[in-house]
Symmetry: C2
Subunit: 272 residues, 2 copies
């Protein structure tokens, strides 16, 4: 199963229901949050006000299951391998297909995913500890509040990667160019300064060893928008199941440099 078409077909048919890490390397993967239109303004504004944890890749028109910009061949009702359906902020059930749940006013938010993030570091020759160890990245719920927007509020969740000073500098340079997948770090060094008590006890994911001379480096984490959406208890919400991302139709390095990656391209899309 190599081509994007084959992967898409396997996920759509329900044949592939496992996490998407490592699938379709070089293709942008995305977190999914689906909300009814009545919550969409507040959630959109929340993402705009908190771009580091919630970097928006695309927002669909109400009722449309097609992300026309980043995944025009995908159907959001079938093309995520595993969904979570929440009612009033509680997980109601998981599903492999949400066609039955879909509504005419469903608005889908695609948000940058850090799977693509680790690939950036590895490509630059920067070892990533949780990849070396074969575990999930350690994530911490900080006491730092995101900027609220309407009904949505909640704390910033961060991921942590231990790095040597030289790699810390290089990783900051590289990730700062990609605001669509969380951008540069939000903190470096003392975990207590951002309210983390014990690095060995992450709130999500797995702990990783920090070697002598290494500094913990913290990035805003894509778990934030789901955690915030859950805390805010909308009566209906669907997300991907953690790790089971939407694989878009968009190559990872679709616009070199990253800073303008949300810009529309005259030659590709709007040209004469």
């Amino acid at each position: 199963m190599n081509s994007l078409e084959e992967i898409r077909r396997a996920i759509r048919s329900g044949e592939w229901t496992r996490p998407t890490a490592g699938l379709a390397p070089g293709i942008l993967q995305a977190n999914l949050v689906v909300l009814p239109k009545r919550y969409a303004y507040d959630f959109l504004l929340f993402c705009v006000r908190n771009p580091k944890p919630c970097p928006l890749i695309e927002v669909t028109d109400p009722g449309s299951p097609v992300p026309v910009k980043t995944a025009p061949k995908a159907d959001l009702r079938t093309d995520v391998p595993r969904y979570r359906i929440y009612r009033n902020g509680e997980l109601a059930r998981e599903a492999f297909d949400i066609t039955e749940e879909w509504t005419e006013d469903a608005v889908s938010f695609l948000i940058g995913c850090s799977f693509t993030f680790d690939a950036l570091l590895l490509n630059a020759g920067i070892p990533v500890r949780h990849v070396e160890e074969g575990v999930n990245v350690p994530m911490y719920r900080t006491p730092i509040p995101c900027e609220p927007a309407g009904m949505f509020r909640g704390p910033l969740v961060v991921s942590m990667r231990p790095l040597s000073p030289a790699n810390l500098i290089r990783a900051t340079e590289i990730t700062s160019r990609y605001p669509e997948i969380h951008g540069g770090p939000v903190h470096v060094g003392d975990p207590a300064a951002i309210g983390i008590r014990d690095l060995d006890q992450p709130d999500y994911g797995d702990p990783v060893p920090i070697r002598e001379g290494e500094i913990p480096v913290f990035w805003a984490c894509g778990v934030t928008p789901q955690a915030v959406a859950m805390e805010s208890r909308p009566d209906w919400m669907i997300t991907h199941a953690p790790g089971h991302m939407l694989i878009t139709d968009t190559p990872l390095f679709w616009e070199q440099g990253g800073a303008d990656s949300h810009a529309f391209s005259l030659t590709d899309k709007n040209g004469p």
Copy 2:
């Protein structure tokens, strides 16, 4: 009249009603669009989908006249030197104070302004033709459609600066770091390629001479969101009058590098 406090007071009292170009150098100035809440989702999504012409700096809560993030000491009802009030897409009147017009569901959008843009180029030693000539920058309405969102749709407006090849490269490098004030260029060279027939006949602003060896360079322009909002004919809308910007409380280079300028700063705002 030098300090930000003095300028703010002069504008608020109605003493200063002229354009803000050159006022408070080093302070971010912003375009203003005020809409009732019922239009806010569509307009917010329009800005998110078209970040080059519509780089969002801040969106206020409904009814709040205070941009808490970028201009916490300002009042949007009094602190723009000259406003325009539109009804059904038509200019109804100008005003120096919109306190009487303000509503409980007014949502204000602050959008990056190119006054700050020219300062960036000049600071880097790049001559800017319309500044040299003492005229307004030439702006062109292209036939290139912005990505629509709900009721909002319309063409991309661009500004043009003629540059030598070396300055073109440097200006692209510099402006690309500042997506909040339109980012890098959208086109370089042949005006016909983006549907501009005659550079000597700009749709807004003034024509400027292009010297031998220079190449016209086009950037997305902050006139776009107002033009689009007008075309879409919301029944009520207030904007600043062209050139009469909101002067924020935010230093221009508030976050070095630009790419992360929308990021919240842990140390400044969310720190322990």
